[in-house]
Amino acid sequence: MVRVDGRGDGKSLVCVRGLEKNYRRGSEVIHVLQNLNLDVDKGEFVAFMGPSGSGKSTLLNLLGGIDLPSKGSITVDGDEISHMSGGKLTTWRARHVGFIFQMYNLLPVLTAFQNVELPLLLTKLSGAERRKHVETALSVVGLADRMNHYPRQLSGGQEQRVAIARAIVADPTFLLCDEPTGDLDRKSADEIMALIERLVREFGKTVLLVTHDPMVAERANVTLHLDKGVLVEGTVAEARA
């Protein structure tokens, strides 16, 4: 279940209350997110849509613990992250968040295997255990045969699949996808979305995804729209009606 009215019971996987994010540009204060509430249960696939500058990526950054809110609280799986210190937040991210970026953001000097292995380096797993996890993750995304390839030797779609494998390898609580198909052609985008759907359906992953593309958003269980820093369910027009 996904709610934006703030009336959830607070037991959802993701629970956001009264979230605000402001930026200062000179003397001007820009309100990016205003009094935002959100409840997302485990296993949900939520797409965030909205015009440029509406605060979609900011919301995703806040949920992922790579940015801090100006006001309000964010609770993920019982952890209140909005007031965590930098060090604690880093540790929390390693355990709970899998990021998937528009530009893939793979390390070009590492092979697909080594890129996927990165989050596991922070764990106490042995080399053999890490290898097993990485091979499993690459198998899930269909790139087990490309594990020794460098990013430059892969297509855009394949790079994004490696990035997805990196995001899921440590079995995080949820996946945050920021325009994951934004740099791909339609066919590759469909493949990526099919993969994300499979992660939700077969592996029970919780996915929060930001997109401009209505066809991508259609594949989510729930689509939420951000308009001037406020979250609404369905289309903006529906919400206003």
Partner: protein
């Protein structure tokens, strides 16, 4: 160790840049090694001088002699334990370029004064029993292929004429920095052929207590004050230091060159590391996003700088060591070509210090990098 591949992978990113940066460390540390070796070559006598030995020369100049009669008066000076003496003998073997330090020594006392030099008793006895006998250092013997029993012709310069010596002994030394290039022969033989009889080049005395060096030196100079042959007494170390000083302020020269080289290296490496961090902003942000801490990222960048410094510095120092092992390139003028381990360690520490200073600012900027800002720049 599980992070090592991250470090090495980054160094492979821009191979030419990595090679050039390592190369600058190689050149700088090789130069450091050369400077240390050359400094050591000039000042080796200072470093190894005996703490309990005093050196007595004519107050006018070292080339002015002292009377042999001073020996007994020196022995009678309070605080003096033993005395020996020698003369400089300018000699040429085959070619003037073949520099060898020839000394006419008092065979009765010289060996005892320098226990750091080792020679077999039977060889010394053979030397004592042969008026034309000589003892040479192992380095010189090796350099010219001399063996015991060889007869060596030497052309005298200060004491003109053709001199011939029988090699009766070869001395060695335990410490690599000890001088094993000297050529000793009987002072009596020199004295017999010298127009000025009983002329001693300099005296060396061993004192009973090194702490009394200044007091004993003053006593000796006072003893011979207002005589036709006034003396100037110094510790062996001070004498060696003043000898080095005559060649100019080698230490200052070396420090100046070293400082310029290392400052330049600092700028080069600092610039390299700054560029390396700037072009990897997004990657460092991704590392942080997936859970690597700020401290890890800082150490990671610093480690890269230190790795370059260690590899380049180590190679440079090894090259310098190799060069020192090839021996004296000056034909015997500076026989101590030796690169001590303590200076190799100092060199590595210096390289790591440069690596740290060069890497610290980029490392801190990487540590402070905000993930959101960095990703926004992509």
């Amino acid at each position: 160790m599980k992070y090592l591949h991250l470090l090495t992978a980054n160094l492979k990113r821009k191979k030419i840049r990595t090679v050039l940066t390592i190369g600058s460390f190689v050149v700088a540390l090789f130069l450091f090694g050369l400077l240390v070796i050359v400094r050591g070559a000039f000042s080796q006598g200072v470093d190894i001088a005996g703490v309990d030995r005093l050196f007595i020369i004519n107050k006018v100049s070292i080339i002015q002699s002292l009377p042999l009669a001073y020996r007994d008066r020196l022995l009678a000076t309070p605080g003096v334990k033993e005395v020996t003496f020698s003369n400089w003998f300018g000699g040429v073997y085959q070619d003037p370029k073949n520099f060898i330090p020839f000394f006419a020594v008092d065979e009765e006392s010289y060996r005892q004064m320098y226990p750091e030099f080792h020679i077999d008793d039977d060889q010394w006895a053979a030397f004592m029993g042969d008026r034309e006998g000589a003892v040479v250092g192992a380095k010189t013997a090796k350099r010219f292929g001399w063996k015991i029993g060889d007869r060596i012709p030497i052309m005298g310069t200060i004491y003109p004429g053709n001199w011939e010596f029988n090699i009766r002994g070869i001395y060695t030394a335990k410490r690599p920095q000890d001088d094993t290039t000297q050529f000793w022969f009987h002072w009596k033989r020199l004295d017999e052929s010298s127009p000025q009889k009983g002329a001693v080049g300099w005296y060396i005395v061993r004192i009973k207590n090194p702490d009394d060096a200044a007091k004993v030196a003053k006593s000796i100079d006072d003893e011979f004050a207002n005589s036709p042959y006034e003396t100037k007494t110094d510790t062996e170390k001070a004498f060696a230091a003043s000898w080095v000083k005559q060649m100019g302020n080698i230490e200052f020269l070396i420090l100046s060159i070293g400082a310029v080289v290392f400052f330049t290296l600092l700028l080069v490496t600092g610039n390299t590391m700054a560029i390396a961090v700037r072009e990897r902003t997004a990657e460092l942000a991704v590392l942080k996003a997936v859970g690597f801490s700020d401290t890890f990222v800082m150490v990671f960048v610093l480690a890269e700088s230190l790795f370059l410094a260690f590899i380049g510095g180590g190679l440079g120092l090894l090259l310098a060591k190799g060069w020192s092992l090839m021996g004296d390139p000056t034909g015997g003028l500076l026989p101590f070509f030796y690169f001590p381990v303590k200076f190799m360690i100092a060199g590595i520490l210096l390289a790591l210090a440069v690596g740290t200073i060069a890497g610290i600012l980029p490392a801190i900027s990487a540590m402070r990098l905000r993930v959101v800002d960095a990703l926004r720049r992509v």
